[in-house]
Point group: C2
Chain length 149, copies 2
Protein backbone atom coordinates (compact mmCIF):
# COMPACT_ATOMS: atom_id res chain seq x y z
CA UNK A 1 0.00 0.00 0.00
CA UNK A 2 2.85 2.39 -0.84
CA UNK A 3 2.56 5.88 -2.26
CA UNK A 4 2.56 6.04 -6.08
CA UNK A 5 3.98 9.13 -7.78
CA UNK A 6 2.16 10.38 -10.84
CA UNK A 7 4.34 9.86 -13.90
CA UNK A 8 3.00 12.83 -15.85
CA UNK A 9 2.84 15.63 -13.29
CA UNK A 10 5.28 16.02 -10.45
CA UNK A 11 3.83 16.95 -7.07
CA UNK A 12 0.95 14.46 -7.38
CA UNK A 13 0.86 11.16 -5.50
CA UNK A 14 -1.76 8.48 -4.91
CA UNK A 15 -1.79 6.41 -1.76
CA UNK A 16 -4.11 3.35 -1.85
CA UNK A 17 -6.23 2.95 1.29
CA UNK A 18 -8.03 -0.01 2.84
CA UNK A 19 -11.76 -0.55 3.07
CA UNK A 20 -12.43 -3.05 5.84
CA UNK A 21 -15.56 -5.18 5.61
CA UNK A 22 -16.97 -4.90 9.14
CA UNK A 23 -20.28 -6.29 10.49
CA UNK A 24 -22.88 -3.54 10.20
CA UNK A 25 -20.93 -1.50 7.63
CA UNK A 26 -17.48 -0.90 6.16
CA UNK A 27 -14.68 0.97 7.89
CA UNK A 28 -12.76 3.09 5.40
CA UNK A 29 -9.29 4.33 6.18
CA UNK A 30 -8.49 7.93 5.33
CA UNK A 31 -5.42 9.57 6.87
CA UNK A 32 -3.14 8.92 9.83
CA UNK A 33 -0.68 11.35 11.29
CA UNK A 34 2.01 8.66 10.93
CA UNK A 35 1.34 8.23 7.18
CA UNK A 36 4.01 9.01 4.64
CA UNK A 37 3.38 12.53 3.36
CA UNK A 38 1.56 13.84 6.43
CA UNK A 39 2.87 17.30 7.27
CA UNK A 40 0.26 19.03 9.41
CA UNK A 41 -3.50 19.14 9.93
CA UNK A 42 -5.08 22.39 8.86
CA UNK A 43 -8.67 21.56 8.05
CA UNK A 44 -10.99 18.78 6.94
CA UNK A 45 -14.01 19.57 4.78
CA UNK A 46 -16.28 17.74 2.36
CA UNK A 47 -17.25 18.70 -1.14
CA UNK A 48 -20.14 17.11 -3.01
CA UNK A 49 -19.92 17.07 -6.80
CA UNK A 50 -23.33 16.60 -8.38
CA UNK A 51 -23.60 14.10 -11.22
CA UNK A 52 -22.45 15.62 -14.49
CA UNK A 53 -21.30 18.86 -12.85
CA UNK A 54 -17.73 20.13 -12.92
CA UNK A 55 -16.18 22.15 -10.11
CA UNK A 56 -13.04 24.02 -11.09
CA UNK A 57 -10.58 25.12 -12.18
CA UNK A 58 -8.94 26.08 -8.93
CA UNK A 59 -5.29 26.47 -8.02
CA UNK A 60 -3.94 26.71 -4.50
CA UNK A 61 -0.78 28.69 -3.94
CA UNK A 62 0.05 27.35 -0.46
CA UNK A 63 -2.34 24.51 0.37
CA UNK A 64 -1.50 20.87 -0.24
CA UNK A 65 -4.70 18.91 -0.92
CA UNK A 66 -5.24 15.40 0.42
CA UNK A 67 -8.33 14.16 -1.38
CA UNK A 68 -10.25 10.94 -0.77
CA UNK A 69 -13.49 10.16 -2.62
CA UNK A 70 -15.63 8.45 -0.03
CA UNK A 71 -18.95 8.09 -1.89
CA UNK A 72 -19.79 7.68 -5.57
CA UNK A 73 -17.11 8.38 -8.14
CA UNK A 74 -15.33 11.59 -9.07
CA UNK A 75 -13.10 12.33 -12.04
CA UNK A 76 -10.24 14.50 -10.85
CA UNK A 77 -8.16 16.31 -13.45
CA UNK A 78 -4.90 18.08 -12.63
CA UNK A 79 -3.36 20.57 -15.03
CA UNK A 80 0.21 21.79 -14.84
CA UNK A 81 0.65 25.09 -16.70
CA UNK A 82 4.38 25.14 -16.04
CA UNK A 83 4.65 22.76 -18.97
CA UNK A 84 4.26 24.95 -22.01
CA UNK A 85 3.05 22.33 -24.49
CA UNK A 86 -0.61 22.57 -23.35
CA UNK A 87 -0.86 18.99 -24.63
CA UNK A 88 -1.57 15.66 -22.98
CA UNK A 89 1.62 15.84 -20.92
CA UNK A 90 0.08 18.74 -18.95
CA UNK A 91 -2.84 16.70 -17.59
CA UNK A 92 -3.18 13.91 -15.05
CA UNK A 93 -6.57 12.21 -14.61
CA UNK A 94 -7.95 9.98 -11.85
CA UNK A 95 -11.35 8.36 -11.40
CA UNK A 96 -11.64 7.70 -7.69
CA UNK A 97 -14.28 6.25 -5.40
CA UNK A 98 -14.84 3.34 -3.00
CA UNK A 99 -15.99 1.04 -5.83
CA UNK A 100 -13.32 2.22 -8.30
CA UNK A 101 -9.97 3.10 -6.82
CA UNK A 102 -9.94 4.00 -3.15
CA UNK A 103 -7.15 6.08 -1.73
CA UNK A 104 -5.73 9.49 -0.99
CA UNK A 105 -4.64 11.79 -3.77
CA UNK A 106 -2.09 14.36 -2.64
CA UNK A 107 -1.75 17.46 -4.82
CA UNK A 108 0.97 20.02 -4.19
CA UNK A 109 0.23 23.75 -4.45
CA UNK A 110 0.66 25.40 -7.84
CA UNK A 111 -1.41 22.94 -9.89
CA UNK A 112 -4.87 23.54 -11.40
CA UNK A 113 -7.52 21.04 -10.29
CA UNK A 114 -11.10 20.32 -11.44
CA UNK A 115 -13.67 17.69 -10.45
CA UNK A 116 -16.57 16.00 -12.22
CA UNK A 117 -19.28 13.99 -10.43
CA UNK A 118 -19.96 10.63 -12.08
CA UNK A 119 -22.58 8.93 -9.91
CA UNK A 120 -25.78 9.87 -8.11
CA UNK A 121 -24.04 10.97 -4.92
CA UNK A 122 -20.35 11.92 -5.02
CA UNK A 123 -18.48 13.13 -1.95
CA UNK A 124 -14.83 13.88 -1.41
CA UNK A 125 -12.96 14.94 1.68
CA UNK A 126 -9.99 17.26 1.63
CA UNK A 127 -7.69 17.08 4.63
CA UNK A 128 -5.46 20.04 3.97
CA UNK A 129 -2.26 21.12 5.68
CA UNK A 130 -3.47 24.70 6.25
CA UNK A 131 -6.79 26.33 7.09
CA UNK A 132 -8.95 27.61 4.21
CA UNK A 133 -7.86 31.09 3.12
CA UNK A 134 -9.64 32.63 0.10
CA UNK A 135 -6.53 34.66 -0.73
CA UNK A 136 -4.29 31.67 -1.36
CA UNK A 137 -6.31 30.24 -4.25
CA UNK A 138 -7.13 31.30 -7.81
CA UNK A 139 -10.02 30.33 -10.07
CA UNK A 140 -10.46 29.95 -13.82
CA UNK A 141 -13.54 29.27 -15.89
CA UNK A 142 -13.85 25.60 -16.82
CA UNK A 143 -13.66 26.38 -20.56
CA UNK A 144 -10.50 28.44 -20.21
CA UNK A 145 -8.37 25.28 -20.06
CA UNK A 146 -8.79 23.01 -23.05
CA UNK A 147 -9.59 19.57 -21.65
CA UNK A 148 -11.94 17.03 -23.20
CA UNK A 149 -14.14 15.90 -20.27
Amino acid sequence: MGTIENKIISGVTFHPLKIIDTPGGDVMHCFKSCDQGFVSFGEAYFSKINKGFIKGWKRHLKMTLNLTVIAGAIKIVIFDDKKKSMGKDCFATYVLGPNYKYGRLTISPGLWVAFMGLEKQNILINISDIIHDPFESEKKEIDSINFKW
Copy 2:
Protein backbone atom coordinates in the same frame (compact mmCIF):
# COMPACT_ATOMS: atom_id res chain seq x y z
CA MET B 1 -22.24 28.25 16.00
CA GLY B 2 -20.83 27.73 19.50
CA THR B 3 -20.11 24.43 21.19
CA ILE B 4 -23.04 23.00 23.19
CA GLU B 5 -22.30 20.83 26.21
CA ASN B 6 -24.52 17.84 26.75
CA LYS B 7 -26.65 18.39 29.86
CA ILE B 8 -26.92 14.73 30.79
CA ILE B 9 -23.41 13.38 30.33
CA SER B 10 -20.27 15.39 30.94
CA GLY B 11 -17.48 15.07 28.41
CA VAL B 12 -19.86 15.25 25.44
CA THR B 13 -20.22 18.37 23.29
CA PHE B 14 -21.93 19.18 20.00
CA HIS B 15 -20.58 21.81 17.66
CA PRO B 16 -22.96 22.84 14.82
CA LEU B 17 -21.27 23.07 11.42
CA LYS B 18 -22.15 24.86 8.21
CA ILE B 19 -23.28 23.29 4.96
CA ILE B 20 -22.62 25.78 2.16
CA ASP B 21 -24.83 25.59 -0.92
CA THR B 22 -22.26 25.83 -3.73
CA PRO B 23 -22.84 25.54 -7.51
CA GLY B 24 -22.23 21.91 -8.47
CA GLY B 25 -22.63 20.54 -4.94
CA ASP B 26 -22.55 21.47 -1.26
CA VAL B 27 -19.40 22.18 0.72
CA MET B 28 -19.68 20.76 4.22
CA HIS B 29 -17.46 21.99 6.99
CA CYS B 30 -15.94 19.41 9.30
CA PHE B 31 -12.99 20.37 11.50
CA LYS B 32 -10.40 23.14 11.58
CA SER B 33 -7.24 23.14 13.63
CA CYS B 34 -8.29 26.55 15.02
CA ASP B 35 -11.67 25.22 16.23
CA GLN B 36 -12.54 25.21 19.90
CA GLY B 37 -11.79 21.75 21.25
CA PHE B 38 -9.12 20.81 18.71
CA VAL B 39 -6.21 19.17 20.51
CA SER B 40 -4.27 17.16 17.96
CA PHE B 41 -4.80 15.20 14.77
CA GLY B 42 -4.27 11.48 15.16
CA GLU B 43 -6.35 9.87 12.44
CA ALA B 44 -9.36 10.31 10.21
CA TYR B 45 -11.46 7.30 9.19
CA PHE B 46 -14.97 6.62 7.99
CA SER B 47 -17.50 4.17 9.34
CA LYS B 48 -20.62 3.14 7.47
CA ILE B 49 -23.59 2.00 9.53
CA ASN B 50 -26.01 -0.05 7.47
CA LYS B 51 -29.71 0.73 7.84
CA GLY B 52 -31.17 -0.92 10.94
CA PHE B 53 -27.77 -2.19 12.14
CA ILE B 54 -26.17 -1.22 15.41
CA LYS B 55 -22.42 -0.95 15.91
CA GLY B 56 -21.33 -1.00 19.53
CA TRP B 57 -20.91 -0.83 22.38
CA LYS B 58 -17.37 0.43 22.39
CA ARG B 59 -15.46 2.46 24.95
CA HIS B 60 -12.17 4.22 24.30
CA LEU B 61 -9.80 4.64 27.21
CA LYS B 62 -7.56 7.30 25.65
CA MET B 63 -9.11 8.45 22.36
CA THR B 64 -11.37 11.48 22.08
CA LEU B 65 -13.84 10.97 19.22
CA ASN B 66 -14.84 13.82 16.91
CA LEU B 67 -17.79 12.45 14.95
CA THR B 68 -19.59 14.04 12.02
CA VAL B 69 -22.34 12.23 10.14
CA ILE B 70 -21.81 13.26 6.53
CA ALA B 71 -24.37 11.06 4.74
CA GLY B 72 -27.73 9.65 5.79
CA ALA B 73 -28.66 9.71 9.46
CA ILE B 74 -27.16 7.92 12.43
CA LYS B 75 -28.51 7.57 15.95
CA ILE B 76 -25.60 7.89 18.37
CA VAL B 77 -26.11 6.76 21.94
CA ILE B 78 -23.61 7.49 24.72
CA PHE B 79 -23.73 5.61 27.99
CA ASP B 80 -21.95 6.72 31.15
CA ASP B 81 -21.49 3.80 33.56
CA LYS B 82 -19.94 6.03 36.21
CA LYS B 83 -23.49 6.99 37.09
CA LYS B 84 -24.82 4.05 39.08
CA SER B 85 -28.55 4.54 38.48
CA MET B 86 -28.48 2.73 35.09
CA GLY B 87 -31.52 4.89 34.31
CA LYS B 88 -32.24 7.61 31.77
CA ASP B 89 -29.66 9.93 33.32
CA CYS B 90 -26.91 7.57 32.08
CA PHE B 91 -27.73 7.97 28.38
CA ALA B 92 -27.35 10.78 25.86
CA THR B 93 -28.83 10.38 22.38
CA TYR B 94 -28.25 12.25 19.14
CA VAL B 95 -29.69 11.77 15.67
CA LEU B 96 -27.20 13.39 13.31
CA GLY B 97 -26.90 13.84 9.57
CA PRO B 98 -26.76 16.57 6.91
CA ASN B 99 -30.57 16.71 6.65
CA TYR B 100 -31.16 16.44 10.41
CA LYS B 101 -28.61 18.10 12.63
CA TYR B 102 -25.21 18.69 11.09
CA GLY B 103 -22.19 19.13 13.30
CA ARG B 104 -19.35 17.57 15.21
CA LEU B 105 -19.99 15.45 18.28
CA THR B 106 -16.99 15.28 20.60
CA ILE B 107 -16.93 12.36 23.02
CA SER B 108 -14.29 12.12 25.75
CA PRO B 109 -12.65 8.78 26.56
CA GLY B 110 -14.31 6.61 29.18
CA LEU B 111 -17.84 6.64 27.74
CA TRP B 112 -19.63 3.77 25.98
CA VAL B 113 -20.85 4.60 22.47
CA ALA B 114 -23.10 2.78 19.98
CA PHE B 115 -24.47 3.70 16.54
CA MET B 116 -27.58 2.79 14.57
CA GLY B 117 -27.98 3.46 10.84
CA LEU B 118 -31.31 5.09 9.97
CA GLU B 119 -31.23 5.68 6.22
CA LYS B 120 -30.15 3.82 3.10
CA GLN B 121 -26.55 5.02 3.23
CA ASN B 122 -25.11 6.29 6.52
CA ILE B 123 -21.51 7.45 6.86
CA LEU B 124 -19.70 9.06 9.74
CA ILE B 125 -16.17 10.35 10.01
CA ASN B 126 -14.14 10.20 13.17
CA ILE B 127 -11.25 12.62 13.42
CA SER B 128 -9.55 11.38 16.54
CA ASP B 129 -6.75 12.91 18.56
CA ILE B 130 -4.65 9.71 18.56
CA ILE B 131 -3.98 6.93 16.06
CA HIS B 132 -6.13 3.79 16.26
CA ASP B 133 -4.80 1.35 18.85
CA PRO B 134 -6.82 -1.83 19.50
CA PHE B 135 -5.52 -1.96 23.07
CA GLU B 136 -7.07 1.34 24.16
CA SER B 137 -10.69 0.32 23.52
CA GLU B 138 -13.15 -2.14 25.04
CA LYS B 139 -16.24 -3.78 23.56
CA LYS B 140 -19.53 -5.01 24.98
CA GLU B 141 -22.39 -6.90 23.37
CA ILE B 142 -25.19 -4.58 22.34
CA ASP B 143 -27.68 -6.37 24.65
CA SER B 144 -25.42 -6.06 27.69
CA ILE B 145 -26.46 -2.45 28.21
CA ASN B 146 -30.19 -1.97 28.61
CA PHE B 147 -31.19 0.69 26.10
CA LYS B 148 -34.44 0.81 24.15
CA TRP B 149 -33.33 1.47 20.56
